[in-house]
Amino acid sequence: MMQLYSKKSPEFREQPRKETIQFLVNFSQSLKVIKTKSDHFIELNLN
């Protein structure tokens, strides 16, 4: 019979990989948003 309700997976308490967090931090640091005169946004990824 199909097991419907297994024990709560330990992955529920897991967190994202550290690399993911670091990527987001780096992405944010390198992202510059410029608003043009015509109210458009330009995203620049500067390393």
Binding site: M2, Y5, E11, P16, L24, V25, F27, S28, L31, K32
Partner: protein
């Protein structure tokens, strides 16, 4: 590193918008577990959860840097809403909804999984849906009710319990028996649910 648990989210957001990049890191680490768990509870796959988590915060970062965020003291609900929409996008793209689990007896995705259905397959799919609906109608009312709420309305057992006025354990039990009885009905009616 000392965890910052004192500065409210709204202040961190404001600091981040004003150029304090470290504030973003605090926000992410403060809410990462809850958000990750939320996404995982929907998609049930760790790699996909990582992707959606990352995409969520990319959207957050872009929106904040564009100055498009209106602070109303609801940073986390806003982020969760973004992730929820990305989860929906994920299921639309993959053309699957997490309503039925595969068992040894039948794999409903063997029928529903095809993006491009020719006319014949479409008819078979519709017939199977109809068969499933008829089988569900034959269940005892209480079991039918729980199954429909869970599978078609995507309600949590907590919500089902509140709606039906029974305990969560009772709702769980009714769901279990609904599936047991559904299988018996499939056997009894000799219905084939695979293509």
């Amino acid at each position: 590193m000392i965890r910052d648990t004192l500065t409210p989210d709204s202040k961190l957001v404001s600091n981040y918008i004003n150029g304090n990049e470290h504030s973003l890191e605090i926000l992410i680490k403060r809410h990462q577990q809850r958000l990750f768990s939320f996404i995982y509870s929907k998609v049930k796959n760790k790699d996909i959860t990582e992707d959606i988590f990352q995409d969520t915060f990319i959207k957050v970062i872009r929106t904040l840097k564009k100055g498009n965020y209106n602070e109303e003291g609801k940073f986390l609900p806003w982020v969760v809403r973004i992730s929820h929409n990305l989860v929906i996008d994920h299921f639309r793209k993959s053309n699957r909804m997490p309503k039925f689990r595969n068992t040894d007896e039948f794999d409903i995705f063997s029928v529903l999984g095809d993006d491009v259905l020719n006319a014949e397959k479409k008819m078979i799919k519709e017939q199977i849906h109809e068969d499933v609906r008829e089988l569900i109608n034959e269940l005892p009312e209480e079991q039918k009710q729980v199954l429909i709420m869970r599978m078609y309305n995507d309600m949590s057992f907590n919500e089902i319990s509140e709606n039906t006025g029974v305990s969560i354990n009772t709702a769980l039990g009714r769901m279990r028996y609904a599936l047991i009885n559904l299988r018996k009905l499939i056997e009894k009616n000799k219905i084939i649910l695979v293509n």
